[in-house]
Symmetry: C2
Subunit: 278 residues, 2 copies
């Protein structure tokens, strides 16, 4: 029977807790908010919980840090003394540049920290939106650094399968953050910018699927995403610039009424998009 500590019972941490309980893990929950702990205990999401962790961390084989990226360093500095040697720490932040390596530098040498990215976030935040089913068929990416052990990578790959994830991939920090910069962060910048282009409440009654699809992710957790954008700033600026060059190119074709040029763009986008059909 494995014992897992989950630090931060927001929507992701609490979803992990519920799923691990289903799988038979002993789950310790740690959250600075007393009411969150009460809620987790009342809903049988965790076996034990407290606001500090000094009573339970030493019992854990594995500790999942489901915190905002900027909280990770101070949490490790203050709490790693409680962990038993060999404990595997996991962090799940949405980008890894400016995070993983800095954390390795302050980590006790007898502990291991592995970066993962379960790609199954939710628009809403907080324990009330937790759901053990979010892992089902999700993508799960492991982003190891040089000092990570093969043993840890193999164990977490098995853990991801246990959770129910489908595609389990291994990427470098650079590959991961470039992929996230395009597929996730750029799409959120576009959705937010489209929603903010101009006032539009009077258009609600005419709206069809196109506009709804393109702006669904304009509902966004402002605290987390502003932090993640800054952490991945250079890549995201570059992706924004490439997108703006693409739309500027299309604008020029339209300005010149270049029908053939526009058709080429449409044919290319149609061909490329077909590859993404599930």
């Amino acid at each position: 029977m494995k014992t897992i500590g989950i630090v931060g019972l927001g929507v992701m941490g609490a979803s992990f807790a519920m799923r691990c309980k289903q799988l038979g893990y002993i789950v310790y929950g740690i959250d600075i908010d007393h009411e969150t702990i009460e809620y987790a205990l009342d809903h049988d999401m965790i076996d034990e919980g407290d606001t500090k962790g000094d009573g339970s961390l030493w019992k854990c084989d594995m500790v999942l840090l489901a915190l905002y990226p900027k909280q990770l360093k101070s949490w490790i500095e203050q709490n790693q003394k409680e962990l038993k040697p060999g404990t595997l720490l996991l962090e799940i932040s949405g980008v890894k540049s400016n995070i993983s390596k800095e954390l390795q530098n302050i980590l006790r040498p007898d502990l291991e920290l592995l970066s993962i990215h379960p790609m199954c976030g939710r628009e809403s935040r907080g324990i009330r939106f937790a759901d053990p089913k979010i892992f089902e068929n999700a993508n799960f990416i492991i982003i190891p650094l040089e000092n990570n052990s093969t043993k840890a990578v193999v164990a977490i790959s098995a853990f991801a399968k246990e959770l129910g994830c489908k595609n389990i991939g291994v990427l470098s920090v650079e590959e991961h953050d470039r992929m996230i910069g395009f597929l996730s962060q750029l799409t959120h910048v576009i959705a937010v910018s489209l929603m903010n282009t101009h006032e539009n409440a009077h258009l609600v009654e005419y709206t069809g699927d196109s506009f709804r699809d393109l702006t669904r992710i304009a509902k966004i957790n402002e605290d987390m995403w502003s932090e993640l954008f800054v952490l991945n700033k250079e890549i995201l600026l570059d992706e924004i610039d490439q997108f703006m060059a693409s739309i500027q190119n299309f604008r020029t074709l339209l300005q010149n009424e270049d029908i053939d040029g526009m058709k080429k763009e449409f044919i290319q986008s149609t061909d490329r998009r077909k590859k993404f059909d599930q």
Copy 2:
């Protein structure tokens, strides 16, 4: 028992034909392609059909022109002599500037032409994708000009209800094309430009809902959309410029690591988007 002629049995025309048959109309189908007529007859989409229309147009109370915008003028010039006085013509092109008024100028004075926009297009083209259910709960917009009769507007409003449409609105040409420029055309420009930002086939396995949602409409009929974009060029260029200013504004906030500024954008987009939830 009403008699309707449908000119052009593409995905829209044939969907109208099927729905009108369900409602008990006598439906004459006209298409330049002989095989399309055969297909429509074989599948009981129309009562009679031919490639010219000189045998059936005189019998119609109403004629729906489901043609590409640029085909409308020459069709009217060549065929209106066949129509009986008082026939109501409908045209369904996706934008109305540079279309409706020009057509009125060549129309026989004893005929009436009313512009409508049933907002229920399909990604795929051709009679094989026709579906009588596309009108169910769709938005239906009537775009009358000054010389249109109240009688025709009322009759077509009732027709739209019969089809199964939910929101039946009346807009001016300018209001309609501005709305379409933002909600439909700009969103397609964005989806196509995002898909064409750079090569991305290697990212398929990591793709989640965000990217799929934003690029679904990047699969696009290149012939029709390039035509519609040029017809609404001035408005669409203006909407693209406003969107690019919005994304440039966000880029500057990110460049400056202006967390508070980004949060304001996120909060505004979240608030605005909530109004669009169904």
